[in-house]
Symmetry: C2
Subunit: 333 residues, 2 copies
């Protein structure tokens, strides 16, 4: 209707003022839907992720939504329930109403992601696809440091507990552990936990103990916390009998004992992805950028010396088999 809203600089200040005042008096608010139809710009973006209930993604969502809001965009949420097919459907349904997508840890195969990216600008988080804007949380250094940490603490056999097996993050972390472990002369066993959930972590404790490992590095904190719960149920104490390390560092400081974890800067990743997407929208031919965030190790109370190396107060050697055993008060804090 009036240029006073869309291009105020073209009118005399007096006119703009008059229109704005009148609009205010009548309670007029520009219709965003009509504007979107007319301009082809929706003013919305959508964030598609596997599971909002996972702290990594809720933190990421929080960062993304806040950043989008700051830049004048509203955010749709699509929760795919870890399902590639639902991701595909959500992308299709929302395409008409958004100017672009942020796909966090997409489970979709590359071909389908590219199909959607051809239709609407897409930025992916934690998936390395050439020619598509991406934010990568590089936890390699953090996991290397984690392996160094447990190696230094005398652990000889360590386990990496991963999920979902095919995800980019999981593969990156598994590789870092395998390579660094080999370098340090450790035996590394790999255990698949299926879905990255507390329950999945808890369920793999049997395998973990069978493997002979004395330290577990988990794909994320939720799985790590599940592992800690499973160990506690068996009467084992952390870190006296077993060391556990997670990743993401959202819930890590709240667990008991506080979890040593690789910080994934989740909220920052979400905000950066939104910036990448919206900056791209401004340019006619946006440069395809990839933004890397380094995750570093944060050491807390869930990691300690390998059990066999620590003499018990009474002189006997503490082994994992001696359960239920009493925890070492000094290992708490």
């Amino acid at each position: 209707m009036s240029r006073a809203f869309s291009q105020p600089e073209l009118l005399t200040p007096a006119t703009v003022e008059k229109v704005l005042v009148t609009a205010q008096r009548l309670g007029y608010v520009p219709n965003q839907v009509a504007r979107a139809l007319s301009t082809g710009r929706a003013g919305n973006i959508a964030l598609i992720l596997p599971d909002v209930a996972n702290p990594f993604f809720s933190a990421l969502m929080r960062g993304a939504q806040a950043q989008a809001y700051k830049r004048g965009y509203a955010t749709f949420l699509g929760d795919s329930d870890e399902t590639a097919h639902l991701e595909d459907v959500l992308l299709g349904k929302l395409a008409a109403q958004v100017d672009g997508f942020v796909l966090a840890s997409p489970r979709l195969d590359e071909q389908l992601i590219r199909k959607h990216a051809a239709r609407r600008p897409v930025v992916v988080i934690n998936r390395d696809l050439d020619g598509i804007g991406r934010v990568l949380v590089d936890t390699t250094g953090g996991f290397e440091a984690a392996v160094d940490l447990v190696a230094g603490l005398g652990h000889r056999t360590i386990a990496y507990v991963g999920a979902p097996v095919s995800s980019w993050s999981n593969q990156q972390r598994a590789n870092a552990v395998a390579i660094t472990g080999a370098t340090r002369g450790l035996r590394v066993v790999e255990i698949a936990a299926g879905r990255p959930s507390h329950e999945a972590g808890r369920s793999c404790v049997a395998k973990l103990l069978e493997s002979g490992a004395t330290a577990a590095l988990a794909v994320d904190d939720v799985v790590a916390q599940g592992i800690m719960a499973g160990l506690a149920e068996r009467g084992l104490f952390i870190p006296r009998d077993f060391s556990v390390i997670g990743c993401d560092d959202i819930i890590a400081s709240t667990t008991y004992p506080p979890l040593t974890s690789v910080n994934a800067h989740c909220a920052l990743a979400g905000a950066n992805a939104v910036d990448l997407l919206l900056n791209g929208l401004a340019n006619p031919t946006p440069p395809i950028e990839s933004h890397v965030i380094k995750g570093e190790l944060v050491i807390r109370g869930s990691t300690g010396p390998a059990p066999a190396l620590v003499p018990a107060p009474g002189g006997r050697t503490r082994g994992r088999k001696v359960a239920p055993a009493e925890p070492d008060p000094s290992s708490r804090k």
Copy 2:
């Protein structure tokens, strides 16, 4: 353009078929924005909440989004960062693009909620506003049972740790604890934690211990977990030295020790709110419904007998002052 999409029942099947096939071949997808402008129906709803990172709200969001999706609606997320003003702004900005709002635990004052409700259908969660559709998670029974539990375990002074003070849920829970506590002849102290966060829970442990309480009931699990962390830092063991109870029951089963908690059926509350909203949209003059979900107590490992009543194995009486003390292996599991 074609009725084949909007009202297929008015056309001959053959025509519908033909149009659909052609559309498919050309890759045609109806433009949701144009449809919205034309019909006045957006096919979207928005969920406004104080903090997606809080497990209560992320679980609620999950339930709401899934239900909205099932019924053909897309969901905007607005995170108000616990701020009444931001809630107001988000409601205003999204109004044109949605058919209705779900407001989870709104911090907004009643008058402003009513203003927005006059413009667009609104369903509130955990706020009892006459004449507005609402879903209430009634945790009164659960908190009564919680007080009964600790009273039965011999605790004589208990604390209620609340946040944010003015929220409907907090007041309901505080009341339930105060009334039931009085009935059972307990001394009840009330402690305000500010924002419902882990850190806030942890910070109020000093006050908690000064108060002489031996059991704490917290407004939610996040605060309860913070309290457990604060107690552990001081060398106290749960439930031997202190009992803790939370609410929501999302993270309660994953803490250490597992937290006794009042189940708030978060995902169900979210789904019910969406149903209420969308059912209302279908009716010209929707009945104002209020849907109540009962929260019940789930007993786990964070509650035990009052400290003074339990003789220690060696005959000495365990008191909270005897720290650092060794945990009782039998109290774990």
